[in-house]
């Protein structure tokens, strides 16, 4: 699915990621954990194509293609989805309009016809129920006046409708209360499938109580300093990040 090799990324002259290696196979869930400033968000941004970053070395191959060469909208159409940490508001544009435009742009990319209005509504309403959202959400402007939890749920709704292959969740748990966290997690879990992979970027372990990762990677100072199974997250919860950072410093 995704193969990251020796990836170095800078913002301006400042190196942020310093040689990331990561292999993600279809169906796997990888959690990227790490302290603030370790480069977690940079990793999700560089994979989804946000501008302002320079790749100085290394590569990222997605389904056999050079991911870093693709403009962001092509990555999206090829199945890379970023659930934003801070979803933006788009005044005057209804959720349902955005969803339809997005779905159709993806279908067009795959030489499929535009989705029929009735079929689309049936699809969307089904997903809305799944995420325990109010249908009124569909007709409100994108994220405008949404609470933090509503915004995150809206991200998952978009994910459910666009059916991406590689889902990157950037601090999806931040700003969520425990009920919202459960709903969002259930939404994500319902999307798990053998051909869909997830990269969950998170600071805290609590999201991993609800979405069980296959692998946990600890990012510190722009490098993956430790990888392990789900149990690594628990260890981090207990010991914090400093022992890993210290270990790296002394190594």
């Amino acid at each position: 699915m995704l193969s990251i090799k020796n990836l170095h990324v800078s913002v301006g002259d400042k190196p942020i990621l310093k040689g990331i290696n990561l292999e993600i196979k279809p169906g796997e869930i990888h959690a990227i954990m790490g302290p603030n400033g370790s480069g977690k968000s940079t990793l999700s941004h560089i994979l989804s194509g946000k501008s302002g970053y320079t790749v100085t070395e290394g590569s990222a191959t997605y389904q056999g293609k050079d991911l870093l060469e693709m403009p962001p909208e092509i990555r999206a159409r090829e199945g890379v989805f970023l659930a934003f940490q801070y979803p933006v508001e788009i005044p005057g544009v209804s959720n349902v309009y955005l969803l339809k435009a997005a779905l159709n742009s993806i279908r067009k990319h795959h030489a499929q016809s535009e989705v029929d209005a009735m079929d689309f509504l049936t699809l969307v309403k089904g997903k809305v129920r799944l995420l325990e959202m109010d249908e009124k959400f569909l007709y409100r402007a994108v994220n405008e006046g949404f609470s933090g939890g509503e915004k995150k749920r809206n991200e998952i709704l978009q994910m459910a409708i666009l059916e991406p292959k590689l889902c990157i969740l950037d601090e999806t748990d931040s700003g969520l209360d425990i009920d919202a966290l459960k709903i969002v997690s259930e939404g994500v879990n319902s999307l798990r499938s053998p051909d869909r992979s997830f990269v969950m970027v998170t600071h805290y372990q609590r999201l991993l109580d609800y979405i069980k990762p296959d692998f946990v990677h600890v990012l510190a100072h722009g490098q993956i300093v430790k990888s392990g199974g789900a149990e690594l997250a628990l260890e981090l919860e207990e010991k914090g990040y400093s022992w890993l950072e210290d270990a790296e410093a002394s190594a």
């Binding site: 194509g49 962001p72 909208e73 989805f81 005044p91 005057g92 544009v93 309009y97 742009s105 402007a141």
Partner: protein, 482 residues
């Protein structure tokens, strides 16, 4: 330079898609303006004597006036002697009676603009009084309107067939002394539309005129007069495009609306004249005087405009709320890109009691453009309980454009309520990236965000016009990502 700034620049540098020139033989006056030109013009149009007098009076007054300089726009002074004041497509005999008789090239030009007259006639049920250069070449659906008693014809025809209406109403809203460009228009206007809706009649269809400037260096001086008699109702659509040109073309139109007791006029404009190239060369100067007089009680006039074209737009569709309980509305989207300049807004003059006005203005600037909202809300002593609500929003695309707001409020009546809200925002890179991350191209994303911004205005447009306006906005913005 970040990737998105570069994208913005690439996208901005696209060419005007509707730029082409229709080759037509035209019967054109030599450039220049003096009284003899006005005599000649009046004669060629077979006008009644009073009209010649009207024109001469206006011309003499115009000569005493100076071109105004208060607007927030910059342009070289116009040489009025270098303009030709009449240009008409050559016609056989008395001119066409149906579309079959229209010059095929003219029809082709409309088709290129996506305005197939023949299709409209068949499908849309819209009567079109098409102005090609200065003479109306096609008027359709006359019969149906005639049955309803509605008069919808070129104003030059109305001058001959309905001189009494012209005498009574022409210049009654915008007098010849009103302003520099209105005076010039009164002196030299060539054609335009005339509408009269008799008492109690609901116009059976939306009336539509497509304007088009074609011959090089021919100033266009359109004159439109719409009279809605007591209890009548009319919706009028005006849409414009013009071909690519190197030289600036002056357009100084005057539109007068008169709404009598209980009458409703809805006037919608989509304006897409050539805005000049990406370096700011060429483009139309659009200096227009549009004003409505809500003369009777309970009358209502609603202006809706979507302005995307012209090098310079300078217009303030206004309402004089004379009748008690009369209502004036102004909904505007003004989009400027590249080096375009727009100074637009409205004036709401409250005279009658319980008069109400609503202003919703959406200005979008991209490229190096300047976009100005200028509005006046004036409540006279007589206007007890007058109410106004103004909302003025500006959206910036990129970091080299400007948005300006000049609201003027004059209230002489203590019971009046006047509200003004204004916002300025920017399309953020985060919004763009978000949309792209959902699979939309940068262009589609900008178009979607801008359309969302303009939603309150678009919902005021007639359905088919709203669709056109959205497409036009997309077209005009092609490239301006930021």
């Amino acid at each position: 330079m970040s990737a998105s700034t570069q994208e913005i620049n690439n996208l901005i540098n696209q060419e005007y898609k509707q730029g082409f020139v229709t080759e037509l033989e035209t019967n054109t006056f030599l450039p220049g303006l003096d009284e003899s030109v006005i005599h000649k013009l009046s004669k060629i149009k077979n006008e009644p004597e009073f009209m010649l007098e009207y024109r001469l009076k206006a011309f003499r007054h115009w000569q005493t006036m100076k071109s105004p300089e208060w607007a927030f726009v910059k342009f070289d002074s116009i040489d009025y002697q270098a303009i030709s004041y009449y240009s008409a497509p050559k016609r056989k005999e008395d001119g066409p009676k149906s579309l079959d008789e229209i010059d095929p090239q003219v029809l082709e030009a409309y088709k290129k603009l996506g305005i197939p007259l023949d299709e409209q006639e068949r499908l849309a049920g819209v009567a079109v009084d098409a102005v090609f250069d200065s003479v109306s070449v096609a008027t359709t659906f006359k019969g149906k309107l005639k049955d309803a008693g509605v008069i919808f014809c070129p104003i030059s025809e109305a001058l001959r067939d309905h001189p009494e209406l012209i005498k009574e109403y022409l210049g009654s809203v915008v007098p010849i002394t009103d302003n520099y460009f209105a005076a010039l228009n009164a002196a030299v206007f060539t054609d335009g539309s005339f509408v009269y809706i008799p008492k109690g009649v609901r116009c059976p269809m939306e009336l539509s005129t497509y304007f088009r400037i074609n011959a090089a260096n021919t100033g266009q001086f359109e004159r439109t007069l719409i009279i809605a008699d007591e209890g009548s109702h009319v919706s009028y659509l005006e849409g414009c495009t013009a071909p690519m040109r190197d030289e600036n073309q002056l357009h100084a139109a005057v539109v007068e609306l008169v709404a009598m007791k209980d009458a409703v006029i809805k006037y919608s404009t989509v304006q897409n004249w050539y805005p000049g190239d990406k370096n700011g060369l060429g483009g139309i100067y659009n200096f227009v005087t549009k004003r409505a007089d809500c003369r009777g009680e309970n009358s209502k006039v609603s202006w809706t405009q979507v302005e995307t074209g012209s090098a310079i737009t300078w217009k303030y569709p206004s309402c004089v709320l004379t009748g008690d309980n009369s209502v004036g509305e102004f909904y505007s989207v003004a989009l400027t890109n590249n080096y375009q300049q727009a100074d637009t807004g409205t004036k709401m003059i409250h005279i009658g009691k319980n008069t109400r006005s609503t202003i919703v203005s959406k200005g979008i600037s991209a490229g190096k453009a300047q976009n100005t909202y200028r509005g006046l809300v004036k409540v006279l002593k007589s206007a007890e309980n007058a109410r106004n609500y103004t909302q003025c929003d500006s959206l910036l695309v990129g970091d080299q454009c400007g948005a300006h707001t000049f609201p003027y409020i004059e209230v002489k009546q203590p019971s009046a309520q006047v509200e003004h809200e204004a916002t300025t925002s920017k399309i953020s890179e985060d919004q763009l990236f978000f949309c792209q991350q959902r699979g939309l191209s940068a262009e589609d994303a900008v178009s979607m965000i801008v359309n969302g911004f303009c939603k309150e205005v678009f919902k005021e447009l007639p359905m088919e016009f709203a669709v056109e306006a959205q497409a036009l906005l997309g077209l005009s913005l092609e490239g301006s990502v930021g």
